[in-house]
Each structure stands twice: as C-alpha cells, then as structure tokens.
Amino acid sequence: MEDQRPIAGLDDPTQRRDAILVERARGGDLAAFNDLVACYQDQLYGLVYRMVPDPDQASDVVQEAFFSAYRNLAGFRGGSVKSWLNRIAVNAAMDLQRARRRRPVQPYPELEDESWQPPAGPDVDPEDIALDTERTRVLEDALRQIGDDQRTAIVLFDVEGYDYAEIATMTGVSLGTVKSRLHRGRLALRALLDAHMELFRG
C-alpha cells in the first residue's frame, strides 16, 4: 500500500500511467515494462539520435538504456519516468561517446533518410517549408560536426529543454562546465554555419 500512495497523489495522467506501469513491471510483469518501452522508445530514440547521429549506434544505445532501466527498476524513486529514462539514455549515449573518443572511428555519417519533414498546416507557404527544411538540414549537419560534449549540452538545453542544473546532474559535470560547453558549442555552430547564416536571420 505504501507504494500505491505516491501513485494516487499524481495528478498528471501520464505520470500516473507511468507509475502504475513501473509498479507492475517491478512485480515481474514484462508486458507492463514493454508498454513503457512502447510509450517512450520513439522519444528516446530521437534524443539519442541527436547525441549519437548514427542510426545503428543510436539503436544500440536505446536498447542498452531499456536494458539498464529494466535491471534498475528497483532503483526508481518516483517522479517522472520520462526524465528517469532520459537520464539513463543520456548516460548510455555518453558511454558510447567516450568509447568513440578512445577508438577513433569514422565521423558520423550524413543523414541518409531525409524524407521526413516538419509537419505543415494546410495554409503554409511551400517556400517556407523549403526554407525550414534546408535550415533544419544544415543545422543538423553542423550539430553532427561539433564535439560530443558540446552537442550533448546543446541538445539537452535547447532541444530537450532541460535547465543547467538538470544537465549537470545528468552528465556528471559542474554547472559552469555545462554553461561553457553550451556557449562554446554555439560558437562552434556559428563558425560552421557561416556560409548559411542567411537561413537563420529573420
């Protein structure tokens, strides 16, 4: 009954659903855990793919993150399941980044599948869509080329919306280091995007 009390206190239906699934998974219900996986695998893959822009490696990282989450279900102390899973995935991605740094490999490949585009409403100008698509492409390319630490800081801060303190906790560095990586990462992006800055200037 003690474990049920925090669940009952949750107002957010998503958090409530997640908490129930975690409780059932802790009790050995694999289907409940797989429901959680189904809920978050796309979001997690999107996050990891921005940090590790290689589809195969990103898939490995996400799979490892879910393995780790299953092994550590007992360690979940409540709160947002999404944040918990994100933290595990970020750590797994950083492990891969460290391994890549020690074993120099090919740079991250170009994004081959460019068929996806941001969703557009019916009254959107096709030229705007083309500009958005081009801006996204060059920005993703530039993100792929900056350092792992700087990319992680930018993805977590700008894309995922975490604050400095949360990023510092997730990545295990100081607040000042997070800020420094973010600013230097943006400066590096600015240098890489020098020829395309017209796309970004309103």
């Binding site: 694999l30 855990f33 796309d42 898939s59 600013h183 970004f200």
Partner: protein, 297 residues
Amino acid sequence: MSVSGRTPQHADHDTFLVAQLAADDLRPSERPVALALAADCDACAGLLADLRAIASATSDLPPIPATATRTRDFRLTEADAARLRRGSWRRWLRFAQSPRLSFTQSLGVGLATIGLAGLLISGTGLPFTGSASMPAPEAAAGGPAVHAAPGDGSPGVGASDSGEFTTRVAADASATAEPATGASSPAAPMPSVAAQAPVAPGASPESNAMVESLPPDEDATKIADSAPAGGEGGEGGEGGTEGLPADSVPAGDTQPQAAANVDAPSPWANAGWLALIVAGLFLLFLRPFAGRIASRR
C-alpha cells in the same frame, strides 16, 4: 552582415563573453563589458545576433520521427528479461566493462609499477638486489653456502687444504653477495677456519689477520674488501669465521651492522608494496577478464 562589419580589433574581442551575453548568462560585473563590445563592434553585434538566431533555431528543431530512422523495436523479449534478471555478478561484469572504468588499466599499470619499484628499492626478499640493500640479519650472516657442515663431505671448511680458502671466501662474498649464513646454526659452531685452513699464499698478512679476527657474525664482504682477488669463487667456500671470540672485533667494525639494521625495511612496508602490486594487477586485468567471461556467456 557580421562579416562585413568585422573590425581589426574584433580578433582581440572575447567572443565567449558575447556568447554568454546571447544566453543572458553573465555575471553583473561582466555585463557592461559584453554590452560595450556589442555596442562598439559591428562584428560582435553580428555575432550576438547570429548566436541568438542559432539558439532559437536549435530550440525549434522538429522532433526526429523515430519511425523514419529507427530500425528495431526495443521491447524486451522473455529471454532478455530472464537474462537481465539473473545474478548481480553479471551486472558487476557489465559495469567492469563499462567505458567509464577504462582508466583502471592505466591505473593498474601505475600501481603495479610503483609497488614493484618500492619492493626493489627496499630489497627485501629479493636475492638480486645486492649486499648494499641486504637486510641486517642476512648481511650479518656472511657469505654463501656456509651451511655446509665440516663433516658433510662438501668441500668446505676443513676440506680446503689448498691454501685458497681465504680468497675463495672473499671471491664468494664479492661476486655473489648472496645472503647466507653460518651463524644460522650457532648451536653447532664450526671449527675456526683460521685454525684449520692455511693462509692464502698471495694474501697480505693484514687480510689474513682480519680473517682470523672476524667474529662469527661478521659480514663476509669485509673479507672481500680486504683480501686480494685471485681465488676462484667455488662452491663450498665457507664463511669459516665461527667460533672466533667476539672480543676480537674492533669497536669500529660494529657500525656496518648497525647501518644495516637501520636500512632494514619493515615488514609492513613490504606488505604495502606487495598490496600495491596485487591491486595494480587486479585493475590491469579486470576489464579483459570481465570481457572474456561475458563473451563466453
């Protein structure tokens, strides 16, 4: 815009400060400096605008539709779950293989090297470290192979009738400096070499006299220092100094032994060096061993 407005002085400007200003992440003391840069330098102003535009564009990046690039379903199978539920030692193995612990191998090499160096410097228990580092009990015991008893048939004390005995003792002591002792069995003192062995023909009277005057526990190296070389270092050369009266030792001759006692390392220090070696080897082989075990399973 920003490129065309670049001034010669811009190269000296702190762009990091501008980046901090773009993120509104400045300390109050730095803010006027950054604002002055943006106001007085066109390039800095352009950079500020560009950085803000980039931050805005990054925030607006559309979510990557995972279904477009994700090639697998991450749901766990029963086999996965069973494997993950198994013993905690597997978890430990995986942790040991984690890239986060990659530093352990270099740390292990360092620890083992330090331990080995410490052990070599202290010299305890290592036969090749020389008499200079020989610990007191052994150094005081004399030359090698002194264990040969007079009646054991080995060429030793009493068996040497060639007159080379003294120089052999000296050669043994200087050549090998092996820790050995005749004094280890003080209960059965051997007959004095001085009494039985003839004096080496080539030896100086002083060195012969010293051999005769050495006490039972005198260092054989003293003989080596004073006797002329000439005899071959053979087996069975005895530190036949047992049984000599202790009062024949000059007062100054006790100092080397005292020094040896000072140099003797404590057993705790040796245990510490050994522990460093063991810990270093453990860290060195931890990850490869864990990887090998994990790959077998």
